[in-house]
Amino acid sequence: MTISIWRYSHLALAISSFIFIIIASITGIILAFEPISNQLQPYSIGSSNNITLAQTIIVLQEHYEEIISIEVDNNDFVSASVITNDGKNETFYINPLTGEKIGEIIEKAPIFKFATNLHRSLFLKSAGRFFVGLISFILFLIAITGILLIIKRQQGIHRFFSKIVKENFEQYYHIIVGRLTLIPILIVAFTGVYLSLEKFSLLPSHTAEHQIDYENIKTTPKKQIKDFIIFNQVTLKNLRAVEFPFSDDPEDYFNVKLSNKELIINQFTGQILSTIEYPFVKLASHWSLILHTGQGSILWSIILGIVCCSILFFIYSGFLMTLKRRKKSSILKNVYSKDKSEYIILVGSETGNTFDLAKIFYNSLLDLNKTVFISELNKYSSYKKAKHLIIFAATYGKGEPPSNAKNFITLLKKNIPTKEISYAVVGFGSLAYPDFCKYAIDIDKTLQSNMLFKSILDLHKINNQSFEAFKNWSLQWSKNTGIPIQLKEPPKKNKSKKESSFSVESRSLLNTDDTFLIRLRSENKISFMSGDLLSFYPENDPIERLYSIGKIDGDILLSVKKHEFGVCSTYFSKLNKNDIIKASIKRNPDFNFPVWATEVIMIANGTGIAPFLGMINTNKKIKSHLFWGGRNEESIELYHEIIQNSIKKNGTAYFYPAYSRVQEKIYVQHLLKRNSSFIAKTLDKKGAILICGSVAMQKEVIAIIDQICQKINHKPLSYYQNKGQLKMDCY
């Protein structure tokens, strides 16, 4: 399968370096604990960092025979190297206020020594260091190509942080975590490269030397250290180190290192003999070290630790994605050759997800003993016996073709069929992006312009790989072609693990639409909200059924339509009070009541009303408008009591029914159109729209609301969807 250049680079770089990146990440996690454990030692001077160097020297001189040097490290620990009164040379942490020894210098624990060595040179000395530097650079490139891929996927840099469509766990969190840790990763990688360059002397050198006029060093007027002007100006906050004069020879001096410069001080007069301002390269080295190691900051060390963990996760999820994609496209094993097949399925997919549905379709044609050939759009050629062409096309980036479909339109012009072919195009995409199914539309137009291609079914667009929508499409295709295909739903994995018992509280009779309400009470205390889903597996049936929950007085309210051959709905319709069923609750936070909204518009048809019944029953604060489409006035009787009670009880809800099977046929979308300005205003002032019901209704409603937004607010609906103002749960 062909993939784009950036994706290819991202992957190739990752494959070439992942073993070393794993080593660096694991040792990185260990090393993140070193600055944390150091910072937890009680040696930090903390708020006393504004005492002056003169004060500290004076107290130290009282305690010790001679001071050799004073140092303030990145943890703000002050250490002094002194000659004690019994002539011993010792170095330890001091309290700069009292001059007392407060602890021994922290020795690097063996585990940190080991990890540091492995982290920076893999125990291979120079060669290893060079290698690690290179890996660091590769990590930097991986991060950059990752950014480009996100921009591409999100259709522009301005949408970098907008909502990501969740295709599967690896893909979703690869991107989510990637966006969050992007900047720290770039910092870690860049500083890693910088530190390596420094070790190999590849940076511009910064060896400015002090110029001291030794001939004219004065020894008078002699001053006490406590009167040295510079020592009274420098506070421990700015100090890195002071080296004391070796002897009382006038040519020996104080060497004072500050955060930005180095000073040479006459040991008798306190005059500054020489100053060197540190060049940028040196300051950059210092900051690289601090940013790369986390010295001196618990918070940054924790971030570094998290970054290392996330890199491990990227390796895991990235490879999982790659393997899945390869698997998806590599199973394109055909039973029949292209020139023997009557049915040609062509797929265009960037991430490989569309292949799943395409293969279901392929297999169901095979089951009917049809000759089918499946391939990628880029492999389009001539097909001698082809009668039907079925195209499944995703869209990538800003309405561009996925990389395995880029050449299709050119190939199409080269390989003109010799006889008529019936075709159908299905577009895959997400409503969260503005260019929904743009590429499928392009293909459809191109095919239309050729006389030999005969459209058998209009273009269908499918949101977020919805199987239900795909099934609906296949039924229509069946109808138009006369081929009775039966799609096999992909078996759902992880059949609910933690089922619990629910007792039936009440069940209504079937109304004229064969719909009924059922109230369930959880035997255990399970927390849930309106909009969550009840997952139920009928006996001897591996396929999960999901029902949208309305929460009323702590009970689960479901609205179910009994289908003639529906195993599950029939089972539910026969339940009686106190019967026990086994089911589980799936949290669905994307479809819970938006407590942040200024006003809420709820749109449902048929049984899709259930979650909204729960919401209007509970919500006491936010004005809510429930638009509902049903067949006729009898349809509403089932819900009448709950709706009226809620309106009376809370005074926040308004109800607008639309009936489609009465004289004046009104659908719910017509109601919306009539209320255009209200809908536009609600979205504009941060209200929310919730939609629950059939996919057909969803399609119509979305189209109307998008029109309203474009016309009145001059913004596409996707703008509000990305802000989380549009929530949908349709089936």
Partner: protein
């Protein structure tokens, strides 16, 4: 008689005791302040070993080691041949490595009878993945040199010593 014998030998005893003390006085340890100033080389901190060399040119004693990670001691090849066999405890005379451009001051003990008697002091230096200098600095121990400045030939720019 016995008493007078004791009286007569008493001064001898006294002398013997003084003589004994006198001898220990001769092998008395003196301490010196020793500063090592490094050149502006780039790379890791340098390992420096200060050793006492006997008149035959062999290692007599380790005086100080700058660098506390034993893992790298074998990089100081010549000294390692001497020290590596016995591995005497040198914890009390070790310090941190010194980086390019830095200086370090240590207190070293040298027995008085090693001065002006043909002994030498040697400063060996090695930097990870760079050169190793057997005699970065080496000079005779005389009452003059122990308060002088000696230029280095490798990573060390100069060494200064001063009696304490």
């Amino acid at each position: 008689m016995k008493k007078s014998l004791i009286f007569k030998t008493f001064p001898i005893f006294i002398f013997a005791i003084f003589a004994l003390f006198g001898f220990t006085n001769i092998s008395e340890k003196n301490t010196y302040k020793c500063m090592i100033q490094m050149t502006n080389y780039t790379g890791e901190g340098a390992y420096i070993v200060i050793s006492l060399i006997n008149p035959e040119g062999n290692y007599e004693k380790t005086l100080f080691v700058q660098g506390d990670d034993e893992e790298w001691y074998h990089d100081i090849i010549n000294w390692w041949k001497f020290y590596g066999k016995k591995r005497l405890n040198i914890d009390a005379i070790t310090g941190a490595t010194v980086s390019g451009g830095g200086r370090t001051i240590s207190i070293i003990e040298i027995e008085a009878n090693k001065i002006d008697t043909g002994y030498k002091i040697r400063f060996e230096s090695a930097v990870e993945d760079q050169e190793y200098y057997i005699k970065d600095v080496e000079f005779d121990l005389t009452s003059q040199t122990v308060k002088s400045k000696v230029e280095g030939t490798g990573f060390i720019r100069y060494v200064r010593m001063m009696p304490q």
